[in-house]
Symmetry: C2
């Protein structure tokens, strides 16, 4: 790292990060300005909700909400753009989530699960905000296990209506965004019964409030009240007491009921139908991963800028000059807090871009590719878990790295932390998602489709030999080329050899997943324990498999991203950052590499030294690297990030009004 300083082409770097949907990012930078969208703190619950609703109205006038809707109803059918637009609501995460509820979840469910009549009838009002709505899936008793939810929709052929009903307290809809204050209708997920047969979970359009904002007949609504964050979003609980809706308000793309009560569906298997329906809603999960990335970038931008100027404790000046105070980002411990997190944020950014691109392509493609769809879902589950955990960890670290200043709401980090905290839970609990991902890896999605419960997997594993696990990313030829250029496994190549790094993470993944499969098979055979026990005893191994898979996938995306960089010097900087990502991933897990003799003890120690060396080498570029995220200063808003708290020593005390 003792090289000449690198010249960073800032425009090139920004362009690379802005990626395929740069026009959406630029539009957001243009639109989200001034008081209308500036960060706010310290509002009461009611004020905060009112402001967020008002802002949602302003956002609706910009057209930014229409990207994802079909062209037939006035949208631009640009699904990728809709995800990126969500992610750009950096200055106000309550608004981001409220936008996600109204246009992503509520509007998205109507788009994905409804048919033309629903699109025509509802989507214009959804887009214009004339019809504010909710996505009423989660129940108090069932969040992760959606298939078990208990609200019923029973068809009554006499009146050609569905009767929505909450059978008991565990079946009340809970944590529903837009429910406590604004929602007029809800897409309600319920077990569909017709002619005495249970057809599984389906979604229906249900009015929950009348024109005056009073709960509709048979509907009870309760306010979830104050939350850790996102208090601009009005979450509530909903009960249905024999609420009737017309037959035609079943969102009937994947299952319909005729006037006589006859059920029809293009998908025969109930299980498969359920997972197909859920799969169409994947955009929400991908959006949350993007939103987590934004919150992380904002917090890092603030903490890195502060660390670059804040001084504390002294060191001697050169050649007997007086002592001077040290900028805190010059301390190795501070670099270690922020710079590996920055490297991972870049890596996840490129992985997110790749994921959004896949979502977009799949949505645009004429024919349905089942395997590609399942891979997308699997990748979305994994990336959502990785990105949101990274956000939680990193924003927490940024809070501490900014000391007392990081605790003051005016410096934004508290709100970024509190608002994004639930991202690890909503749109799929991370622990559950990682397990789903691993199950996908284990079965490579064959045969077990629809058997996403713990049993299905174990039954499957008991009978089959495991193979062909590793899903390739978009960058196959490039990765193959790098691996081919790597020295053999025995060789003691440079830690910075990219081919060696990729091979190391691939090898780890293969070993962990194969080992898991073998372990489950063996346990079944030897112990005679029941399938649940077998799987449960291996649960830490299961989660680990999902994690190591994603770390490899994310690395490949980072490598592919750097390959698109048009400036050599900038690419060199990004390669160092990528080295830091890899070295910190290996460092964290070096016990595994040692236990499995993938690294010698000397080489493991060298990894730790490499992290230190890379931190020190990258430190001069830290501010440029966060600035490249392109977050407007007014979005960061924090005085400590904008130089207002810097170098006050020597500043005169300003005139000020006596308190």
């Amino acid at each position: 790292m003792n090289e000449q300083p690198l010249r960073v082409d800032e425009a090139e770097l920004r362009g690379l990060l802005d990626g395929q949907w740069a026009y959406v990012r630029e539009r957001a930078r243009d639109v989200l300005q001034g008081e209308d969208f500036a960060p706010v703190t310290g509002l009461s619950l009611q004020e905060h909700r009112a402001l967020t609703t008002e802002r949602l109205g302003k956002l609706a006038t910009t057209g930014m909400q229409t990207y994802g809707f079909p062209e037939e109803v006035g949208g631009s059918g640009d699904v990728g753009a809709s995800v990126v637009a969500f992610e750009m609501l950096v200055p106000d995460l309550s608004l981001m989530v409220k936008m996600g509820v109204q246009w992503g979840l509520f509007g998205g469910a109507i788009s994905a699960l409804g048919t033309e009549r629903h699109h025509r009838e509802y989507l214009p009002g959804v887009m214009s905000l004339d019809l504010p709505g909710c996505f009423a899936m989660t129940e108090t008793g069932h969040g992760s296990d959606v298939q078990s939810l208990r609200t019923t929709a029973t068809y009554d052929p006499k009146t050609e209506e569905f009767v929505l009903h909450t059978p008991d307290e565990s079946a009340r809809k809970d944590y529903i965004g837009n429910a406590a204050r604004d929602g007029r209708m809800a897409v309600v997920f319920a077990q569909l019964h017709s002619a005495g047969i249970d057809h599984g979970v389906h979604a229906l359009m249900v009015p929950i409030r009348d024109e005056d904002g009073m709960p509709a007949p048979g509907v009870t609504i309760e306010d979830c009240g104050h939350k850790a964050g996102l208090n601009g979003v009005d979450n509530g609980r909903i009960w249905f007491d024999q609420v009737r809706v017309p037959r035609t308000d079943l969102l009937n793309r994947y299952g319909d009921v005729g006037p006589d009560g006859a059920y029809t569906s293009p998908i025969e298997s109930k299980n498969r139908r359920f997972f197909t329906m859920l799969g169409t809603l994947i955009r929400g999960r991908i959006s949350v991963a993007g939103g987590a990335g934004s919150a992380t970038k904002a917090a890092l931008s603030i903490a890195v800028r502060y660390g670059d100027t804040r001084r504390q404790f002294t060191r001697p000046g050169p050649d007997g000059e007086p002592e001077r105070e040290v900028r805190i980002l010059d301390y190795l411990a501070h670099q270690r807090k922020l710079l590996p997190a920055l490297a991972r944020t870049y890596a996840l950014h490129f992985a997110q871009e790749e994921l959004v691109t896949r979502l977009h392509e799949l949505h645009d493609s004429e024919e349905r590719d089942e395997r590609a769809q399942r891979e997308l879902e699997s990748r979305a589950a994994g990336l959502k878990a990785m990105s949101t955990w990274h956000a939680t960890d990193t924003i927490q670290t940024c809070r501490e790295a900014c000391g007392g200043a990081g605790y003051m709401s005016q410096n934004r980090i508290p709100q970024l932390k509190a608002d994004s905290d639930i991202f690890t839970t909503f749109e799929g609990d991370n622990t559950v998602l990682l397990q789903q991902l691993t199950k996908g890896l284990l079965t490579n999605f064959q045969d077990a489709f629809g058997d996403l419960d713990q049993m299905g997997l174990v039954k499957f594993m008991a009978g089959k030999v495991f193979e062909n696990v590793i899903e390739r990313t978009a960058a196959v030829p490039l990765i193959d080329r790098l691996i081919a250029a790597a020295p053999g496994r025995g060789g003691n190549s440079s830690l910075y050899n990219r081919g060696w790094q990729i091979e190391l993470l691939e090898d780890r993944e293969k070993h962990v997943v194969e080992g898991l499969a073998a372990r489950i098979r063996r346990a079944r055979k030897d112990d005679g324990r029941d399938a649940f026990e077998v799987f449960n005893h291996a649960q830490d191994h299961v989660l680990r498999a999902g994690r190591v898979h994603m770390e490899r996938v994310v690395l490949e995306a980072f490598v592919a991203g750097i390959d698109r960089c048009g400036d050599t010097s900038t690419a060199k900087l990004l390669n160092r950052l990528c080295d830091l990502y890899v070295m910190s991933v290996i460092e964290e897990d070096r016990a595994w590499f040692l236990e499995h003799e993938r690294l010698s003890t000397a080489r493991a120690k060298a990894v730790t030294a490499a992290v230190n060396e890379l931190c020190q080498g990258l430190r001069p570029y830290a501010v440029q690297l966060v600035d490249a995220f392109g977050l407007r200063e007014e979005w960061l808003a924090a005085p400590i990030a904008l130089g207002r708290e810097h170098d006050r020593q020597g500043d005169p005390v300003p005139e000020r009004v006596r308190n």
Copy 2:
């Protein structure tokens, strides 16, 4: 772990945890009841501050604030009790911190740094709340580096007054509790100048508001505004513009100025005087460690109770019975989230009890024992860092473990998280504290006293051979006995052999500290790098040394605590919990044990298996173990912890008012 179930003697366990100051804990359980002290959420900033002030008044009527004050002024001189009383304010962390500001910091500074005239004049009003006050140490430009703060107190012999002044913006007092709203006086830390000589940092009593609550002449006060948490505490900024206070309002225990301006002090060295004065304020740091423990216990109590009853996903019933939903704490992944954290919480509890006992004994002892005092400060720094980081990590984990319910303010976890978040920063930034601890270990407190800056240590290390590092805890004979009974290092004893465990952690500590010392010496000799660079390059190693030291100290305290348990079966349970603490400490750091050939790869894998086994074995006792903390249900308050959200399936929908 496949043994008969253990019978837990709940009274014995509670008594063991309640420890030496059980009467304070019982008093708190008795006093802190009903609406007066119940957890609150969703208040506006002003409402929250007003309520907290009102509650502080109610607390003052209980007498619980008087424990720590001298008997001469109506206190009970029971320093240990004052720390435990602070820790017991579980239902309201804003009140806990406000109490700490008024009686711990403000009152404590007057007690420790003032002399009899200050005690007589001020302490009765401090205790009764007639004199609300602030502890004005931190400045915007200098928090961790207190010695460099820039407010000046210049003696004017003409009027026999000190002139307090804020020279520039970096010297404004910042984050000062009680400043924005309630404080009338402040203990202000300033550089004392007399007759042209700078005598270093001293503390003075300074009026900041008049009887009507208006800022005193020359004083400017600004509100720090909304914070991440603790919004019941009114933090503010203070500037002084040539504010005059009488000469006798210098807190003059360690340094005084005569009418003519002559400076006298019982401690000649300026550096040593500074650190002696700071050392007397150690109680605040120890209290924060205790408060962090309480917040952790509350969050764990909520999450464990919820995990014990919440069900999600199904497993087959035995013998072909229908599927049943699984309690989430029966999942290994969930156990791994909560149970190692519970084990560490116990370990830290016993370490805290030991630390408070030492503080108490030292305070009571007739003669001043410099070495004991420095060990106390070192241990306080380390335990504060360990306990507060543990709180931040664990409460975050509890939030996620409770899913969406954990994000609702009514379930308390959000507030516990937000309120305790600053504990890693205030009363000493954890990263800085761990470094101080390591420096103490390296120099074993000799010679370098007063040279707590980075330079001093390095200079010291360059010339001296390192020895006698490991400070023994209170439990020396017991620990020696256990180590003596351990098989030799070569032997492959049971992972659960306590002597082997202690030896392993001791050996690690010794190796890490010695390695650090050698590294610093070597770097100085070979590279000719300046002292700052040498130390900075080893900063990760420095932090690691502090951490491994504390993990060993905490283990010894846990072992000593179990030794006091009077019931065999209960002690057996605690020993399992202690095993889980040790195994998870080793698991986390097993890369180090492998790199340094302290564990074979097979044994390292066995450690991971042991953590799993212990989690599963302890799961049936989890609720009893959190209940033993003795936190009143009304302090937990969370519906999810009190069975109100449990087993709702089948519950009828209650009558409720239409919204």
